[in-house]
Amino acid sequence: METVKKHFFSDMSVMLGRSMRHIFRSVDTIITVTIMPIGFMLLFVYVFGGAIQSGTDNYVNYLLPGILLIAIASGISYTAYRLFMDMQGGIFERFHSMPITRSTILWGHVLTSLISNGISVAVIILVALIMGFRSPAGLLAWFAVAGILALFTLALTWIAAIAGLSAKTVDGVSAFSYPIIFLAFISSAFVPTESMPPAVRAFAENQPVTAIVDAIRALLSDQPVGNDIWIALAWCIGITIVAYIFAMRAYKKRV
């Protein structure tokens, strides 16, 4: 047992190296992940933007947090896909029959998800800068934004892990990300919740995406964040814990 535990970091780096190679050998996945959110951004800024009353003079600034969350929500479907493919092929069984630290098999995918989504987020922020996004936020605020986005990615990655570990077909693997993307549309991501009918507004104001979007928006525009950041963190951590438990249960069922 001791010998197995001792190798956690070396096993981890092998697993991480493997799935990072997968990503860099299929750069098209990063493009696919970023293209839809960038499309939304162009559409909302240049087509609908004039008609939307967001209360800010720079609509890109308003839009960006929600777009980043949509990008992450669609990015994690590749994590589910890669996990699913590993389960399908024999490689999982090979790893499991070897004297390695088993937890690194899943954590390798999770870390890779964090890194690849980080890249997608960076690409989208670059495009947003070109489109006129500006932020007065200081370094600390940017760190806080990065932290929230990383936690959000972690939460969704464990949801993706449930899908990847329990799906029966490839089509089933990515379906789970659509409801999450849809959640962004019924939130404060594109328009202020005040403009919504009461029932919809009540839903929008009490779901995770709104809290996270509002927290990031406040941080990026150098406004006081208030309670939003704590609600956002609570959502992220809560979802991570619940999804982790279910993902582990799905994992145990497979081994």
Binding site: V14, R25, E93, H96, S97, P99
Partner: protein, 252 residues
């Protein structure tokens, strides 16, 4: 002689389906053991239990002196598995696949080990190509090569020649023979009776959840009714033994 594998009363069911109903057998260290059975007989199920991928419902299995249910970590230290379906990473190159396994086995000099294996399996030229471009035979060779990284004492090959053309099959046979010569214990499953005949020191036939025959080729040949041997001029093939044994069981 030491036993590499000791299996007693092994049972396994998937819901209503009783796949293994008390399987018993032993494998000598350094020998080649062939487990024979038709589709769905439960060969892969036995391999998965012995390689700690699946838990049995009853009975015991001891591999290299360690109980698979109680000491799975120790079992994994001393075995290596080439599963029924290729366990290679298609996106990596052949060399990267080998290096990955060498690192996971914490070898001191992965480069030397992998170079030797590439040479031995005729994959040196294809080493830097992605595995997705490999032929079926190359896939299988790489798959087996990956199982030899770190020279495990006991290697499991689950239908190693499944889906290969005759030429590639003979290549794999050569590899198994070399392994046996070097003293490695080989546990292999197959549906091809000829394969068991070619490679194995000891052959066990799995049928309806039990081992219905177990022994050397010569011992199994004795199971054929003697009257038949007199009529047949050539040596009986394993196929005939298999059918004869199954027929006998069914008559009871």
């Amino acid at each position: 002689m030491e036993k590499a594998i000791q299996v007693k009363g092994l049972q396994k069911s998937f819901k209503q389906l009783h796949v293994l109903n008390g399987v018993d057998f032993e494998v000598e260290q350094g020998s080649v053991f062939a487990l024979l059975g038709s589709n769905g007989a439960g060969k892969t199920t036995i391999v998965k239990i012995l390689t700690t991928l699946l838990k049995q419902d009853g009975g015991t299995a001891v591999v290299n002196g360690f109980d698979v249910a109680l000491k799975p970590d120790n079992v994994r230290q001393s075995i290596s598995l080439t599963g029924q379906f290729a366990a290679v990473d298609e996106i990596l190159t052949g060399l990267e696949n080998l290096i990955m396994i060498a690192k996971l086995r914490h070898l001191k000099n992965p480069g030397v080990v992998t170079d030797n294996l590439l040479k031995r399996f005729g994959l040196t030229d294809a080493a830097d190509r992605r595995v997705s471009t490999y032929s079926g035979g190359m896939h299988r060779r790489l798959d087996i090569a990956m199982s030899l990284v770190g020279t495990p004492e006991l290697i499991f090959l689950d239908e190693p020649t499944n889906g290969l053309d005759p030429e590639a099959r003979i290549e794999v046979w050569k590899i198994v023979k070399e392994l046996a010569d070097s003293g490695t214990t080989v546990f292999l499953t197959t549906q091809y009776l000829e394969e068991a005949e070619q490679l194995a020191d000891q052959i066990a036939i799995l049928h309806k959840g039990r081992i219905i025959a177990n022994g050397t080729l010569a011992e199994l040949k004795k199971l054929i009714p003697p009257a038949k041997v007199e009529y047949v001029e050539k040596q009986p093939t394993l196929e005939e033994i298999f059918l004869a044994v199954i027929g006998k069981k069914e008559e009871k």
